[in-house]
């Protein structure tokens, strides 16, 4: 039902509203006093509510960082949980300001949805999870298997490509939400559960006996996950894009949520530029001079965010791998702040 409502909202918004609302996302957010952020319906490590209803996760921290940069208050975020199918419609219709929901950057999504990806918060790839009792060691042994997948994802298309390319048959059972998919996998409806590898580890924690299940070694796709914003507001696009870059730059410069105030006092020219004691890059973005300080105080630098949510400091315990900084063997690289 939600999908239909969303689509109708979109139809009405597209049909009746004036175009003027477009270029003023930042002003709208300030007037509202809240950032409206689209997140998943519950994917541990990325965005999931805890037992008190507080949202946590890597994607959630991106929302908090943006809210921190705008309001200097990371709590001013309204989280809108969205299924994979509904997420783009919610963004197009203006229900959310930014979509931070483990969404893969692809050319078709970048060009045909009226929205832009602002960067990559997590480099992921699609994998498979099976029950250990099946005694399968490779995805190439999955001929004639039944596969559970969440509908409306790139995963679904990669799956079709992979089995076709390897000349294997399979049966796909596609569910509307992540939880339904996992439940069907656990109930034995399918042999294999497939999603992004980070998601496999996260969902394995939800199973009754995580140790009875294993993630197969194959990674069958590139899944760069990142936030999305609507077309037509370049200022807002810049803000979301540079919020992520600020988190990366902070890690590169060793600025953490604990030492940010001391670092701001140092006479290092680069630190002064980044932390806003010199220059006015923040104001050029439409934010304040101390925007990076605000972001780091809100959530910490990228490394802290990664560790807390998906890395060594979390139940998921995922290695930095591709998500390490460029100078530490990873792919995460921010253009200079100058």
């Amino acid at each position: 039902m939600k999908r239909v409502t969303l689509a109708l909202t979109l139809a009405l918004a597209a049909g009746l509203s004036a175009q003027a609302a477009d270029a003023q996302t930042l002003k709208t957010i300030k007037d509202r006093g809240m950032l409206s952020c689209g997140v998943s319906q519950g994917l541990p490590g990325f965005s999931s509510p805890d037992d008190k209803g507080n949202w946590t996760g890597l994607d959630v921290d991106v929302c908090k960082a943006i809210a921190g940069a705008i309001f200097n208050d990371a709590s001013k975020v309204k989280y809108v949980p969205l299924s994979a199918k509904d997420r783009f419609t919610a963004l197009q219709s203006g229900e959310i300001d930014v979509l931070s929901r483990n969404t893969t950057w692809t050319i078709s999504r970048d060009t045909s949805l009226g929205a832009n990806f602002t960067g990559v918060t997590y480099y992921d790839g699609q994998g498979f999870m099976v029950k250990k009792s099946l005694k399968v060691n490779s995805a190439l042994e999955l001929n004639s298997a039944s596969v559970c997948v969440q509908t409306g994802t790139t995963t679904e298309q990669n799956l079709a490509d992979y089995f076709k390319a390897n000349n294997m048959k399979y049966e796909v059972i596609a569910f509307g939400t992540n939880d339904e998919t996992v439940k069907a996998y656990e109930a034995g409806r399918c042999d294999v559960f497939t999603t992004d590898q980070s998601g496999l580890y996260a969902n394995r924690l939800k199973l009754a006996n995580p140790n009875d299940h294993m993630v197969l070694p194959e990674i069958i796709s590139k899944e760069p996950l990142g936030p999305m914003v609507r077309h037509g507001d370049d200022q807002w696009f810049d803000i979301v894009k540079w919020t992520l870059f600020a988190m990366l730059t902070a890690e590169e410069l060793g600025v953490t949520s604990k030492n940010v105030d001391e670092k701001a006092k140092l006479e290092n020219p680069e630190l002064k530029r980044v932390l806003g004691t010199d220059g006015n890059f923040g104001e050029q973005l439409g934010l304040t001079k101390d925007w990076v300080v605000r972001i780091v105080k809100a959530v910490g630098n990228y490394g802290e965010v990664f560790d807390r949510n998906v890395g060594a400091g979390s139940p998921l315990g995922i290695n930095r791998g591709l998500n390490n900084l460029w100078n530490k063997g990873g792919l995460q690289y921010a253009p200079p702040i100058r």
């Binding site: 049909g15 477009d22 783009f88 994802t153 049966e171 596609a174 077309h231």
Partner: protein
Amino acid sequence: MSTEARKPPPQIALKIRRLLGGKAGWNGVAVQFAFAAVLGWIGYEIVSNARANLENQHIAAGFGFLRNNAGFDVNQTLISYTGSDTFLRVFVVGLLNTLIVSVVGIVFATLIGFIVALCRLSPNWLLSRVGEIYVETIRNLPLLFQILFWYLAVLAALPNPRQSISLLGIAFISNRGLVIPSPIGGSGLEPFLAMLALGIVASLALRFYARRALFQEGRMIRIWPYVLGLLFGLPLATILVTGLPFTFELPHLKGFNFAGGSRIIPEFVALALALSTYTAAFIAEIVRAGILSVHKGQMEAGSSLGLSRGTTLRLIVVPQAMRVIVPPLTNQYLNLTKNSSLAVAIGYPDLVSVFAGTSLSQTGQAIEIIAMTMGIYLLISLLTSAIMSVYGWRVSRSLGA
């Protein structure tokens, strides 16, 4: 005081005036045209505004996407489909899946509904209580929960394919569904089908002849032995002459799953089961109301004519009850069809799931896809209504009402 007869206006002009303006005359016509023009203008504004805004936001628009490759698979397809087919074909696949589950659901809902209604009306205390409990329980629980219940309950109860329950070694039940042997056409297929068709046509002609004899000449002709011969004897005789029309491909376990044979997926079973039991509870009440609406004097009149209870019900009570039953029954059929869109919760690939779900998020063209989906649901509903109206009209006509 004399009145002069007014000259009647020309017939054609009068007809047009009545048609368009009702009693208000030509003024009414003008109002109708103005109203139509305003409606048309609003529609045009909405469409052109939407187009302009979509273009401004660089959101792809138009129906060109229907020719693009879908790139995902569907696990129940009534027509051949692979990931390299177009979105248009996905639409047809989803539509057929919606139709098959709706038709199966309607048939079973009607059967169960009638049985439960007869139970509730039965003088047997136990039967009528069972009917009552069925109706009151089922219709007071949300349908979505019932669908999930059937799905998860059925899945949980079934073993995995390697330990599947074998039915005489030819059919297998597991949590992958029911696998049955699938027929493969043989040499005798064409004559067999031809004879079967001939048998059906001949039986219908015979029935027509028998009814005419009954109504016009008052002769009763027993036709069922001939019909039996035509429907079964004729095709069987053909098989003896031309050989088996088809052979069966037996399913066998291979790898993770069964290879060969046809499969009914558990999602279909769960959805059809939930839809038919749920709707049956409503249909039962409608049928009960219909039968109770016929005055009990009709039953007594039938008995006094010497008709048996069954014959009286069949020939006198039920036809009159149908007049009351058909309109609300149509509503239930429409509800069932629309409710089948809850399929997405259990991964049954119906129209809403594969087209308004997966295709929508793959293409992002919400307006076009939702419009197409709504349009087709409207069309299905209107067709169902039309068929039921014709049926209701025939029932009324046969009663002389």
